[in-house]
Every structure is written in structure tokens, then in C-alpha cells.
Homo-oligomer: 471 residues x 2
Amino acid sequence: MLIHSMKANQLNSFLISALTEENPFITTAEVEVWLEQQNHAVQVGIEQIAFSEMTHWNFSQDQSRLQHQSGGFFSIEGIHVRTNWREVKEWEQPIINQPEIGYLGIITKEFNGILYFLLQAKIEPGNINYVQLSPTLQATRSNYSQVHGGKAPAYLEYFKDRKRAAILMDQLQSEQGARFLRKRNRNIIIQVTEAIEVQEAFIWLTLGQIKKLILKDNLVNMDTRTVISGIPFKSFEDIGLFSYNHNPVKMSMLISSVGKGISIYSFEELVAWLTALKCRYELIVTGIPLNQVKKWTITDWEIVEEEGRFFKVIAARVTISNREVSSWCQPLVKPAQDGLIAFVVKEIFGVLHFLVQAKLECGNFDILELAPTVQCLTGDYKRPEYEIPFLDLVLGASPESIRYDAMQSEEGGRFYQEQNRNRIVQVGAEFPIEVPENYTWMTLNQMNTFITFNNYLNIQARSLISAVNFL
Amino acid sequence: MLIHSMKANQLNSFLISALTEENPFITTAEVEVWLEQQNHAVQVGIEQIAFSEMTHWNFSQDQSRLQHQSGGFFSIEGIHVRTNWREVKEWEQPIINQPEIGYLGIITKEFNGILYFLLQAKIEPGNINYVQLSPTLQATRSNYSQVHGGKAPAYLEYFKDRKRAAILMDQLQSEQGARFLRKRNRNIIIQVTEAIEVQEAFIWLTLGQIKKLILKDNLVNMDTRTVISGIPFKSFEDIGLFSYNHNPVKMSMLISSVGKGISIYSFEELVAWLTALKCRYELIVTGIPLNQVKKWTITDWEIVEEEGRFFKVIAARVTISNREVSSWCQPLVKPAQDGLIAFVVKEIFGVLHFLVQAKLECGNFDILELAPTVQCLTGDYKRPEYEIPFLDLVLGASPESIRYDAMQSEEGGRFYQEQNRNRIVQVGAEFPIEVPENYTWMTLNQMNTFITFNNYLNIQARSLISAVNFL
């Protein structure tokens, strides 16, 4: 018997309170110092090793996949892709297959009328800053079901036992479609009322603080960013609580963009636009053995494309030393270069609109997802192999038109020092409203409505949206 | 360059006008007579033949599939299913694989301020009534791309040429998850303004007329029902235009159920409920050769389960004779018995709520879809093999509590004389609000919001919703 425990509109009033940056537990400046201390207190060693040196990981006998000996966690497999999207109609590549749905969960609690979010300073081997602010719980099913030994992740019981917490948000969201095969995570925010122990390396932060820290490079990890991107903006609009923002002159526009103001397209028009594109574009993905992926070679040390493009799969021995020493081996995906994701935004009818792209990626669950205006992660955007719309505009944007600009990491548990420039660029009246057919204009509220449903906004779009308060 | 051609709110005002049953072209009673005439004017012969006698269809050399020689249309394949849903954890079965997205399209046009829908009396071999009211266009990609010869379907050009019509609705919707492997159709309603020829066997009907005809057995085909189920109820609520309904005492309740009244659960709670279930239930479907499907046998004449349960695949020679004679062969799926689909509805907080089930079926695109309270299509509901919640209540409902009851056909192009009892039963205060965990209560508006997005409401739920005006 399921007892729905979430109270209607509870999310709204609490999250509004959370937008404050006043925090008696820890100020935003102190968080940065604290993160630095956490970083100093730990030694992280990443040693690239040969695949044959990995403990618990091996290629299957037929070389069809690189896998954990338990069959859990994830594996590296091969896929053949056929599509009628853009220039490249057919290719093969390695991909991460992780069919388990993991938890990305944040515990919240009210203190003196303000909602706080419990984040942790979490070490991940692939992070540029080894320690970044992560959700309370970040666990694959292999982790939390403990089938492979190990202790249960901290705070897991609050998410598993439905009577201990109210659910504020619970959504299925996609991961990187160029790297993961239809991977999804459960993005969940719960609220506890009972006393709760704050374990070491965990802190209570307001949403306002988290959003301020996203302005800095590589402090807030991808998992935290995707969870908070699902928080509806309409909550905030109701009482216009954007006033803490650093750029008050932009506020009226932002408020209008999340309100019930005029959007250039109705929601039904946006659904029709996407339906037509999903019917036009095909994506046929077939599993193939990893050692038969065309143009890719498995050496003793890496799985690499013939021209060194896109990414490599490497084997790593990770050693974490703080008070204890722990060490394990795992594959990591190492990108060929930094990437770029960017939204172009424009005021239309007095309302801020985002230029959204319907983008096909091989690991997508449903052919196309809604992506930022520019998304260059797999190829080199400094030497693009084919024309990328709006790339020059984003790269050449004047400082006054750049509303947000930071380097942000991808998930450090899978990706080795992968960081992408996150940028939001505002264009003026000279920028045309008519755009190529796989682009359209949406308000923040329209994007947020799509986020509520599975597999609409991709993780790059969500990463940018998580920063939006600070346009 | 895509020019969005749909006008915001155009759908609403026009569809409201369409709710009238006054039609100067043809009255509702005349439509029934006309359909009967169409049925008399045609001879439909369905002869069951051996698989080896089929022209253009054959088993692949390795007996892994039954296919059209062009590779188009559809094929019958085998699947292995593994799940943790309910009693049966693992099984194998034949399934229809039709990866192409087809059109289910209705042309509308305004005459004297009223919107009319262009439907056709279409012959389909599997229909109980051979001739049923079908959408203007009902075409697979194999049909409309004409790769296999044949003439283009009537009115196709209005859907393909985006400048000839405004789009009122354009959605991707699923088909039967127990029979089709992730099949979807494009449900589209367009509006033309130019003069348009009404070809033979086509008529202009109002939405009110179509909904009235759905009250009768087997007159409006499944494809028409799914398309009109996507029309938002909120349009109607705005001006309370339910007054043409036959049961005016129920009207206030129905209007409240589609309005912004209090629903028992917020939309966010419903999304959270479904997310938790999607994370709990697994569905792993693997393709296997058709001749290796356990418990199923391919004879010369049929593909049949060892106890004759569920359905058979048969080979049919279809002969249609009116002024011309046309004949072709194709496989058809023949169910073992009639099925039952039913919604239980209840007034909660003065608002009518529907008891919705999250149901796993092997061909589902995303594990679970929202289904009617009771859905018994694949097993025999008169001799159920395991307990089916609410079955007795629906079967034993008193006449006063039955708000809708009709036999409706599944799609006659694939299914041989498959019809299901469609029923809506209203329960009173004695019926508990707490329901098993994979059931929840939704208002019509909440269901309609889910319909807007891909693969939420299944085709059985949509079939029942298409009748709802007449509760």
C-alpha cells in the first residue's frame, strides 16, 4: 500500500525559502575554504595501468566487452549506429552500458523556516578538483544493494524507507547520450523532519548558496547540478523571489520568462515540433563485440580511435588516502579535449527565450533529446569537422553578452578530468527569430515542464539550467 | 527552415465548436445508416490459408521471423521476456515488430464557424464490422513512401506538405504493448482552409457526433479513438460546453473533473509515484528466433501456444469486392477470447477521479504505461490464472453504476475480429481511496497532460478516454 507522502505545494514554499544565501551553519565563502581543506586533506592517486593489471575487471573471453567480474556496475561494449541525422550516417564506437538506474538523491530539512540541502564533499577519481559538492546520496544499484560487499552508502535508509521522509521531487533523467547507452538516474529530493546526524564531509546549504557556487569552476558536481535543475522555476516566480540575484536589472526579464507571460510558441506547438522531428529521424543501435568496433583499437593500455578523436577508455588504479587508504581499479573514459555547451538566449515579446536544439545522440533513449544551442563534447569544437550552427557566435560573444561562464566537470566516477565550458550568451534584436528546423525557442517554464517527464531535456541542457538564477 | 504554423489556442476554440451534434452534412442517425450501406456494398472474404500459400510473405530461411519479402510493413518475431513484475517472471512469445512510425491523421476544416473532422468508412479485414469510421489518413511508412508500389493514400499530401495545413495536434502514441514491440504512431490533427474534395467513402463529422458513435459497438475504429483521445479536455471546460451531454446531472461533476479543481494528488506526486515504480520494475526483452519460442509451435497453418491461450498468428487471404476486386495475403493475430478494459471512477473532493494502473507489458517502450483499472486482453478474464484487482467489481457492476459500456475493435489491419468490452464504472463513497501501490487516482486533466508526452497512457486507456464525454 503506497501512502503518497508528498504534500501539494510543499515544494514551492520550502524552495522559495531555500533561495536565501544567509546560512547560519556556513557562509558561501566558508564553503569554498572548506572544500579546499577537504581537497588538501586527501591524496588522490590516479595511475594509468594496463588492462591486464586491473583487479576485478577483465575483458570477456570473446573480447566482446570490458566488464566487472561480478557482472555489476557497468561495462564497456561496442555499438553500431545507423541514422539519417546530419553528415555521419553510420559509425561504430565503444559505449558505457550501465542498465541499472542509480540514485542521485538530496536530503532536505527545515531549520527556522528555511529549507537546507545536505550535500557532501565527495572525492571522485576523475574530477579536476578531486573533491566536489555532491548530492547526499549518489549510488548505483550495485552500491546500494551491496551485492558485491562493502558497506551501505550513508543516508541510504532515508531514501529506501518511504516512511522516513516526504518526497519533494522524484524524476528519471538521462545521462550523456554520446557516452552511455540509454543510462538513466533517479533524481530525487526528500525532506526529513526527524533529527538527523550530519556525518563527516556533509554540510547543510541553501539552494541559493548552491546556485552561487555553480558560478565557480568545478565546485558543484554534475550529479548535484542535474538534481537541482529539476526544481520548478514557477515556484519562485509566484512571489518574485529572484531579488537576491547579483544582476537586478536582468531580474524583471527573468521573472517574466518563468511566469505565465507570452511565449513565442505554445506548449502544444513545441510538442508538435518535437514529434515531427522524432518521426523524421531514425536511430538504429545494435550491440557489437568491443574488439570488432571499426576504427577503434584495443591496445594493452587503452581503447582508442584511429585518429585519437573523441575519447579513450583507459584503465586506472585509484588510491585515496586521508585517514585511511583505499584503492581500487576501474576503467575511465578520457575525452580528447575539453568541450563546450552553451545556450543562446534572447528577449522575445519581453520574455527571455532559450534557443533549444533537438539533438540525436547514439545513447538516447528516444532518438532526440532537447539540448543546448551549442553542444560540442565528442568532436573538437576548435577544429570542427562540419559546420556547427551558432558556434562562432558563442565563442566570439562580447563580455557584456555573456550571462554565465564556468568550467564544469562531468561525472568523475566515469570520466577522467572531463570538463566543459558552460556558457549562456544573450543576443539582441538583430538575432533572427527564425532558426533552423531542429532548433526552437522555449521559456524557462516550458523547459521545466519538459524536465518533469522522462528523457526530454538532456544532461547538458540541465547542467546549464541549474545555473540559471545568476543570468 | 520550419515555420511553426499552428496558432496558439486555435485548437481550443475550434474544438469547442466541434462538440455540437448538429451537422448539416449528415446527421448522426444517417451516419449509422450510411455505414451499414457501406458494409452491404462490399464483400469481404477472409480465408485462412497455410503460411506456405501466402504471396509476398514467408518465413526467413532460418525460421527466425515471418516477414514481407520487401522487408517492409511488419514481421512476426520471437522475444524472451524477463521481469520482476507480478507472478510470471519469465516467458517467451511471438510479437509484431513494426519499427516504422505510421500516420494516424485527421483533416479538419471549418464551415460556418464549426470545425468538422474528415473520417472515412474504411474496410479492414480483421474488423467485426468490416467497415468502421477511420481517420482521414491511416498509413504506415511502407504505405505512404510507396516503396512497394501501389498508389499514395488519399489526402497524404496535406500531411506531408507543411504549408497546406495548420497543425492542431501532433503526438507520438504507443500501440498494444502485449502484441507490438515498442510500436508507435503519429497521432496528428491538421486544419485546412482551402477547398478540399470529399472523396468517396469520406464524410465530415463533428467531434460531438464521433463521440456519440463511440457509444455504439464497433463503429469507430481504434485509430480514430486514439487520435481524438489526445484532444485536451481543458479546452471544453473553459466555457463549460458539456451541456449537449445526455446525462446532464453528471455534467457538473465532469466539468469539475477537467477543471482546475482539487485533485487528490498533485501532478508532481503522480510523476514521483510513476518514477518509483519505473525504478522498481525491470523489463528485459531479447529478440529470439520465432521457431525457438518456448511453449509456442509453428504449424503449417498457425503459430499457437501449447494450451491455445493468448492468441494465434494465422495466415489470411483477404478479398475485398465492391466495384473492383482486390486481394492480398497477410498474417493476422487472432485472440483466444474477447477482452475487457475498464476504468473505475469515483468522486473525491467533489471531483471525478479515474483509478489508473501502472502496467508493465512486454512491448512497452519504457517499462510501464498508465492503463485502465482493469485490462484483461491477453489472458481469459472469465477464468483468470491469478488475481486481477477490481475485476469482480467491474463485471458485477449494477446497471446504474455503469457510465459507459460498448464493444470496441482493435485495429483490423493486424487483429482478426479482436474486440474488447470497454466499460466505465462509477463507485461510491464506500470504495476506499487507498489502493494497491501500482494504482493511483487521476483527474481527466491530469491524464490528458500525460497524454501530451510520449508513451505515458497506453492505447486501452486512451480508447476509454475517447468515450468520456458521455459518462
